[in-house]
């Protein structure tokens, strides 16, 4: 579903906030070649399992990265697919999660998401090589 459709009628984020997050997602996808999804909403008590199930329901889960933020439970989950994990390892996900966490503590949900997605996109950037592909 396009981001604009998701924002319509919800009213949780202002249009400018939605635009900021969408721009960060586009930049991250352009840099990394992966697919990024952001889910902000309520989860279950086991937020990790809930995020894993959401990730599995994506159209291309192997190449997708899901960022799930539950402001109610104060939980943040980053799920990277099997193929995305090759370029975006768990340590880089942990660094991005720490960056987002510091913004969430200050109450800046949108700013934390934007910074975290940008960080994930830069970390998953495919290294440039001078070798010619056959």
């Amino acid at each position: 579903m396009p981001a604009g459709d998701a924002a319509d009628g919800l009213g949780s984020f202002s249009p400018s906030e939605v635009s900021r997050i969408e721009r960060a997602i586009r930049n991250a996808e352009t840099m990394s070649g992966l697919t990024f999804s952001v889910y902000v909403g309520a989860s279950e008590e086991d937020s990790r399992a809930y995020a894993a199930r959401l990730h599995a329901a994506l159209s291309d889960p192997d190449r997708s990265v899901l960022v799930m933020c539950d402001p109610g439970f104060r939980a943040l989950e980053i799920i990277s697919g099997a193929q995305a994990k090759r370029t975006l390892n768990d340590m880089e996900c942990g660094l991005a999660a720490a960056s987002m966490q510091s913004s969430f503590v200050a109450g800046d949900i949108v700013g934390g998401l934007v910074r975290g997605i940008q960080q994930l996109g830069e970390a998953a950037r495919a290294p440039r090589t001078l070798h010619l592909t056959p």
Binding site: R53, P61, C93, A97
Partner: protein
Amino acid sequence: MPLSGPVPLLDPVPLLDPVPLLDPVPLLDPVPLLDPVPLLDTDSPSVDVPEAGVRAGSANVGPVSELLSMLVPLETLAGRPEATNPTVLQSLGLLIGIPAVAFAIIALLCKASALAKAGRGRPTPVTDPVWLGSAPKDQELTDGTTAPGSGESHTGTGGASARW
């Protein structure tokens, strides 16, 4: 000689006769004080004695003259038209109005950055789930009606978790 019999006491002789006191003689006769001599003759046209609140070549000023003189020179140069006294409104504006405006501007500049950031850090109330980027095809996953996926998650996934 045996001491016998009472010895008659001598008549008391006055040691000193009371001398009549002399009339007090004034040490110095009171000299009549001289009439005060004016140091400066105010009537003389050659000497200009400034009076209180009056300066040479300037107009009379009121009780705020000393305070105003710290900020505004009250003397008028020779050949210039005589300076007029500032009104009470002008004095108030100079002494109170301008500092108040400067204080307000400085306070506004200090508060500007805080006002700009006022709405930025507020926690966003999230009432409904929001999907941004690519979302799952089945939107009922996160609308609260059904549990997502019912336990079928891909293996080999990575990532990180955090709580705040």
